[in-house]
Amino acid sequence: EAGVTQSPTHLIKTRGQQATLRCSPISGHTSVYWYQQALGLGLQFLLWYDEGEERNRGNFPPRFSGRQFPNYSSELNVNALELEDSALYLCASSEILETGRFFSGNTIYFGEGSWLTVV
């Protein structure tokens, strides 16, 4: 069974540009989570999508946005890129006990991440 897949593996953008990162969850998982991990730091929660809806977002500016498609895959968009947006962006997926309600007993599984470098 395929795990969480992310693309691209690496992306280099210029400050002010837009970046789009993609994620395909594990088959059967309806929830997708996005995290940002700057070099040497922990995982910062970005966004949570479930059944096509944004359920929660972390403390990030509105230029970080995304969406979830009917097949549960997801896209993270970062507009007006800044140098400090350079980081590993991790996508994770899980089943959900109740639509729109996170349950920590449903294990979340991560992809290998997309490295975004802003120059």
Partner: protein, 112 residues
């Protein structure tokens, strides 16, 4: 808020047992505790999950006391390849709903 606290770093030697403790004083009644391992430039990998008492799988054991305010990940007979950052995960309330929130993680270095 079920904020987690872990030691920043730990050192061990090959063949030793390593125990990493995570404090989660405000864990919710229905919250599970999950541990992950992360190597540099890779996504976190699920290790083990538990709700109470003891859980064991082929790579680790997880000990959770009755009050569930902490948990201990036990890695038996570590090897150099166990050098990684270990995170414990519980739910946390943000924006009115629970979200999976990671602590800062524990950097484990295994020496020859």
């Amino acid at each position: 808020l079920a904020k987690t606290t872990q030691p920043i770093s730990m050192d061990s030697y090959e063949g030793q047992e390593v125990n990493i403790t995570c404090s989660h004083n405000n864990i919710a009644t229905n919250d599970y505790i999950t541990w992950y391992q992360q190597f540099p430039s890779q996504g976190p990998r699920f290790i083990i999950q538990g709700y109470k008492t003891k859980v064991t799988n082929e790579v680790a054991s997880l000990f959770i006391p009755a009050d569930r305010k902490s948990s201990t990940l036990s890695l038996p007979r570590v090897s150099l390849s166990d050098t990684a950052v270990y995170y414990c995960l519980v739910g946390d309330i943000s924006g009115g709903s629970y979200i999976p929130t990671f602590g800062r993680g524990t950097s484990l270095i295994v020496h020859p």
